[in-house]
């Protein structure tokens, strides 16, 4: 009885998680009138042309390239720099370690609402406004990423690192040949998290990007949502599907490594 109850509670909730996605997918294949009539669940006939409409007439193909470039570069650079900093904090002894670690921790508490105004002013001085690097450079390091990598690298045995040093490896070699293979799951988890954060990021691009050619998908979708350009709900939902798909694909592909790496450092 309890088992039945537990299973139905869990899978009932899981089903609830899928409702908006399912409704989004079903609507994206309906005709305008059918979607608004709210008459049934399944589309009368499947209109794949809604996706072509979203892709071309709403111009998503242009923003797609921007989103991919930003997310891929942020992920590659972000994972590398956070891991290097994490290694320094976990395994190297140097002057000022406590203070630097403390400030890194403190940045995690600083909310964008207090810093985005002056960050914008600073970025404008550095030429990091209204272009793609403006969406990449500020995110190649994060307090969370550094501390997460530090936590993961602390679990690598000191003996392995010492052995490398005795073999005459320098710290960069040790990082690449000893540490990196030992922290593959947390690295994968950080990569997935960084990719998703970058891909889904909305507030920062909203502040930083003005010119249409540098807009990313969330900005484009927000415009569709305000209803000025595209009136058709099915085309809007097709656009939302296009925005939603990549993180889901990335997550499902890397879920094993992600879940293994992710569950580790919080307790």
């Amino acid at each position: 009885m309890l088992r039945l109850l537990a299973h139905s509670a869990v899978f009932g909730t899981a089903l609830l998680m899928l409702v908006p996605f399912a409704w989004m997918a079903l609507t994206s294949l309906k005709s305008d009138t059918e979607a608004l009539s709210g008459s049934g669940l399944l589309p009368a006939d499947y209109r794949w042309e809604n996706y072509t409409a979203a892709w071309t007439s709403a111009g998503l193909h242009r923003y797609y390239i921007n989103s991919i470039l930003v997310a891929v570069f942020t992920t590659l650079l972000g994972v590398s720099y956070n891991a290097l900093a994490g290694y320094a904090f976990a395994k190297l002894r140097f002057r000022g370690r406590r203070v630097l670690l403390g400030t890194t921790l403190a940045t995690m508490l600083m909310p964008p609402s207090v810093y985005f105004v002056l960050a914008y002013v600073l970025c404008a001085r550095l030429g990091l406004v209204d272009n793609l690097p403006a969406l990449i450079v500020p995110f190649i390091a994060s307090g969370f990423g550094i501390l997460y990598m530090r936590q993961a690298i602390r679990a690598v045995p000191d003996d392995a690192i010492e052995a490398g040093r005795l073999d005459g490896m320098n710290e960069a070699d040790i990082f690449w040949h000893v540490v990196r293979p030992a922290i593959a799951p947390p690295l994968a988890a950080l990569a997935v998290i960084t990719f998703m954060n970058s891909w889904n990021s909305f507030f920062w691009p909203l502040v930083m990007i003005d010119r249409d050619r540098f807009r990313t998908l969330p900005l484009a979708l927000a415009d569709l949502a305000s209803g000025q350009y595209v009136q058709s709900w099915p085309v809007r939902m097709a656009a939302a599907m296009i925005l939603t798909a990549p993180p889901v694909i990335v997550f499902i592909t890397f879920q094993r490594a992600f879940l293994r790496g992710f569950a580790l450092p919080h307790t």
Partner: protein, 297 residues
């Protein structure tokens, strides 16, 4: 450990520089800017606490402030409590397809808030939404989820209205999966001998859950509480998407209020509103460390 100062500084240089330039310095500067009046051009003018006094009497700041706190107060306990129960079920040895369940529950957490807000707006749409369709089928009227009025009011203060409740519900929907994931991982680490002993003493499952499991996963609870608080203080995307980009007092949050001041070039005023968020985050951190610290001693 021998010293490796030069290597360490080389490894840390880029990431720490990025953190300082784009987070630390603008935060410290933002705190100073909160005491100034600045439109972005020309020099800022020191005006003392005028920005904060203006915030206190701003008719749009108050709903944004209250909404943000109410949003946190609803979403965090409900999401975490729910996640705890679901994780306990998923983790039970007799539970089938737990991995699939965890995956499905986590799905909302990885998708864009803009897309999610948009999808929910359509799900709740009075004419084409599946919720109103379902309610119509069973003969019930659908409430105006995103346009409805006040639900709870104390004196002249609107504590809860339909759009805010919808926002909170969608946030719970989105965050519960992360809680399940972390709780399930923490529960797997619990030593089972105490549970077995309690079970053979005839303790009920419910009792074991409350008296053994709950305290054992307390670090996870605190972590979720803290990240939940900091996260809800920064809420923006979801409110924006659910409201279709049109701000109203009903669904306003602190971050959105701050953003509007920035858009209108009232940079000092925006910074002051940001400082309020910073103070609330610091308060959350202080409480977190007091509680978490107590446990270790």
């Amino acid at each position: 450990m021998p010293r490796h100062s030069s290597t360490a500084y080389a490894f840390l240089s880029v990431p720490l520089l990025v953190l300082w330039i784009f987070t630390l310095m603008p935060t410290l500067g933002g705190v100073l800017l909160a005491f100034m009046s600045w439109s972005g051009s020309g020099g800022p003018i020191f005006i003392g606490v005028d920005n904060f006094l203006a915030l206190a009497s701003d008719s749009r700041f108050r709903p944004a402030f209250i909404n943000t706190l109410v949003f946190a107060a609803i979403t965090i306990p409900v999401s975490n409590g729910f996640a705890f129960l679901l994780a306990a079920a998923v983790n039970a040895p007799w539970f089938r397809a737990g991995a699939v369940a965890r995956l499905l529950l986590f799905l909302p957490a990885i998708t864009s808030l803009v897309a999610i807000g948009f999808a929910w707006r359509w799900v709740l749409d009075p004419s084409g939404g599946i919720v109103s369709l379902a309610l119509r089928t069973v003969g019930l009227p659908a409430p105006a989820f995103l346009e409805g009025g006040t639900l709870v009011r104390i004196g002249s203060v609107d504590l809860l209205n339909w759009p805010l409740l919808t926002l909170a519900a969608v946030q719970i929907w989105r965050t519960v999966g992360l809680g399940v994931l972390l709780y399930a991982a923490a529960m797997r680490g619990i030593n089972t001998s105490m549970m077995e002993a309690a079970e053979s003493d005839g303790a009920s499952r419910w009792r074991i859950l409350l008296t053994i499991t709950r305290p054992a996963v307390r670090p996870t609870t605190l972590f979720l509480l803290f990240t939940g608080l900091v996260g809800s203080l920064q809420a923006f995307d979801l409110a924006w998407a659910l409201a279709g980009g049109t701000d109203s007092a009903a669904i306003d949050v602190l971050n959105w209020f701050t953003y509007r001041q920035f858009q209108q070039n009232r940079l000092g005023y925006a910074a002051a509103s940001g400082v309020v968020v910073l103070l609330l985050s610091a308060l959350a951190a202080g409480i977190h460390w007091t509680i978490a610290g107590e446990r270790e001693t």
